[in-house]
């Protein structure tokens, strides 16, 4: 009994120590947050093991686990849906976030793998209250792309909720698509559509890639 009590205390103290270690991360600026994310992703991608057959699917797992540290998927999904979000039930929202996240992982993380030593140039950082924007350029072999991130602050940490590449906002682009579908169908139809797409992508993922 007493033993359990002491180990409980010990666990509590340990938690306190761990919690104390967190503020180091909490003091990161929006730019530093993006920098850390980019650096971590590049470390993963430069790992020689990545280019093996099983490495490829493994990378998606690693990056997907990492995504939670840097992305606010709930915020991103809510904004992509827009006003119809308010009419959705809790279950629908949860389901929506889950399948939409899977869709983004399957498409964008696949793309990230084609990393070809691009450099990121951090241009500017705008902060106002709990919102921020980080403006960057991605320097590829023979062209420069503008990539801007919108972030939101939660419990002292910044999370990305929109990526704007070459003026095309991820959130707004999906909002147009979702609007188009919701125009003729219900929210449930939309969720089914996303799931269909995910299933299709998962099926094609196992096939050998072109190029």
């Amino acid at each position: 009994m007493k033993k359990a009590y002491y180990s409980g205390i010990a666990a509590l103290l340990l938690c306190c120590f761990l919690a104390a270690a967190v503020p180091a991360a909490a003091d990161m600026s929006p730019t530093e947050t993006i920098q850390e994310a980019v650096d971590r992703i590049i470390v993963v991608l430069k790992d020689p093991k990545v280019n093996t057959k099983d490495g490829k699917s493994n990378v998606i797992h690693v990056l997907s686990d990492m995504a939670d540290d840097y992305f606010a998927f709930d915020e991103l999904t809510m904004r992509s849906v827009g006003k119809p979000w308010l009419a959705m039930s809790e279950e629908q929202r949860a389901e929506f976030i889950k399948s939409f996240r899977r869709l983004l992982e399957l498409t964008y993380l696949q793309k990230i793998r084609q990393y070809d030593d691009e450099k990121v140039e951090y241009k500017r950082e705008l902060v106002k209250g709990d919102k921020a924007m980080v403006l960057t350029n991605v320097l590829a072999k023979d062209s420069v792309y503008s990539v801007n991130y919108k972030l939101i602050k939660r419990e002292g940490r910044w999370y990305v909720y929109d990526i704007i590449g070459e003026n095309i906002s991820l959130v707004k682009n999906y909002r147009q698509q979702f609007n188009e579908i919701l125009h003729d169908g219900s929210v449930q139809d939309l969720i089914e559509k996303i799931k269909e797409k995910v299933a299709k992508l998962e099926a094609s993922k196992d096939e050998p890639e072109q190029q």
């Binding site: 809510m78 006003k83 793309k111 705008l126 801007n148 906002s169 188009e180």
Partner: protein
């Protein structure tokens, strides 16, 4: 004196009546209203990082698409053409011809399009850029072996000069002419009314338009397009493959890319 007193009474009474009415108005902002505001009005910056000062700043305005039936049909057609013909051809071509010669071809056609860029710069009063494009054209056409080499690539100008990547559609946009309805043309792809008018103008400024007979002109333009495609494989796919409604995804992407080009 007395009239002032009555006036004060009147104002007080009016205020008393008005206050609950005002309060009522305040009370009307339901939770829902606050929630809706979450999506609309909490954007501080637009997508390029400019502070949003007024509602007018929103590029978010829905693009008008009254010809959706026609557009959707040609979008589907172009998509099939792209995936079934254009891309396989470009992939085969890229497999046979190494990157460097393809780069020369790209430079050659880019150099040839100089009149379009020059007129676009002049129409927008960008005389610096027009001058820069002119000197580029002269150098690349002579020392650069008729435009096969781009000797100015990656070089910085002495003072910063805006890029000369202009066309007539962008100039119209610069003059404040709106997009008008979204239009998809067979083979040519997405456009808007404004950009279509611009493209007609650009057509007359494009040297390859004057090749005779007409099929040589089409061949030259198609070759340019296939060659250019080899440098941007996968861009169209990544957009459409990640979408649940490719039509809307491409429409939004086109409008946003053009908006960026007009701004620059």
């Amino acid at each position: 004196m007395r009239s002032e007193f009555w006036y004060a009474v009147l104002v007080t009474v009016l205020l008393l009546f008005a206050l609950p009415a005002m309060a009522g108005q305040d009370g009307d902002t339901t939770v829902e209203g606050v929630q809706i505001a979450q999506f609309d009005d909490d954007e501080i910056w637009d997508d390029s990082g400019q502070i949003i000062t007024e509602k007018l700043d929103r590029e978010d305005a829905q693009v008008s698409d009254p010809l959706k039936g026609w557009n959707y049909f040609w979008f589907t057609f172009n998509d099939a053409m792209y995936r079934g013909v254009l891309e396989p051809v470009a992939q085969g071509y890229a497999f046979i011809i190494p990157e460097r010669p393809r780069g020369w071809v790209r430079n050659f056609f880019t150099n040839l399009m100089y009149p379009v860029r020059f007129v676009g710069c002049v129409m927008q009063g960008k005389f610096d850029s027009a001058g820069m494009e002119t000197s580029k054209f002269i150098i690349n056409s002579t020392i650069g072996l008729g435009g096969l080499a781009d000797l100015t690539e990656g070089r910085k100008t002495v003072r910063p000069i805006a890029t000369g990547e202009e066309d007539m559609g962008q100039s119209f946009g610069r003059w404040g002419i709106g997009n008008g309805p979204y239009l998809v043309w067979p083979f040519l792809g997405p456009s808007t009314l404004r950009d279509s008018v611009g493209s007609v103008g650009d057509y007359f400024l494009t040297p390859t338009s004057y090749l005779n007979p007409w099929y040589w002109s089409v061949a030259a333009k198609s070759y340019d397009r296939i060659n250019r495609l080899t440098f941007e494989f996968g861009r169209y796919e990544s957009l459409t493959d990640s979408s649940v409604d490719p039509y809307a995804a491409v429409r939004d992407a086109y409008i946003k890319l053009r908006a960026k080009k007009v701004r620059e």
